[in-house]
Symmetry: C2
Subunit: 114 residues, 2 copies
């Protein structure tokens, strides 16, 4: 049924992708692996979400792509942040922090709070 564990990232995917790319230019396949790795298997980015997201971010001018050789010797599309992308990432992170604390306020609220 509705297993919450598999259904996860909703509006956070863009931010997470931007953040991973900010650590250094990478190709899509590696982004998915790194997100899974860094989050200790919590995030499992599906290809059907990943590639459309990358194209979206590129269309918005936040990423730029370049074909290069990957670590394994194959051709892969390496993405790097543009200046706009850098600013966007910072804005999204700031917004995430605010969101987090706002959710925290609600979760820790009690009946006396209103």
């Amino acid at each position: 049924m509705n297993d919450a564990r598999t259904e996860l990232l909703k509006g956070t995917l863009d931010m997470l992708i931007l953040k991973v790319i900010a650590l250094g230019p990478t190709h899509g396949y590696a982004i998915a692996q790194r997100l899974q790795q860094i989050s200790r298997d919590f995030f499992q980015v599906h290809q059907g979400s990943l590639y459309p997201a990358l194209h979206r971010l590129e269309d918005r001018g936040w990423l730029q792509a370049e074909w290069r050789e990957s670590e394994t010797g194959r051709e892969a599309k390496f993405y790097s942040l543009t200046k706009k992308g850098q600013r966007q990432m910072e804005a999204e992170v700031a917004n995430w922090e605010q969101l987090c604390s706002a959710v925290g306020l609600v979760l820790r609220s009690s009946e006396g709070d209103f």
Copy 2:
């Protein structure tokens, strides 16, 4: 255009609604007000999101509704949590905490992490 401030993270609304109702049975209009109030104006729940969400939660058996008189003397639909709703809320909160720390791992990661 895409002002992130107004966009609340998709998927969190259900949890927030369940949490507010867990503080005591309330009607929809008050839920929106309280969310805004508790979150210090960060969350602005629009009616077009709120009422469909309430119906969704009721359909899933997490809420039960009852017409009663509101504080102002008018008829209003008061929602309360069912047992299933209580469990659902706890599950969603637990999931949120996990999501938060997973995002935290990514945001605080550096190049040496892989």
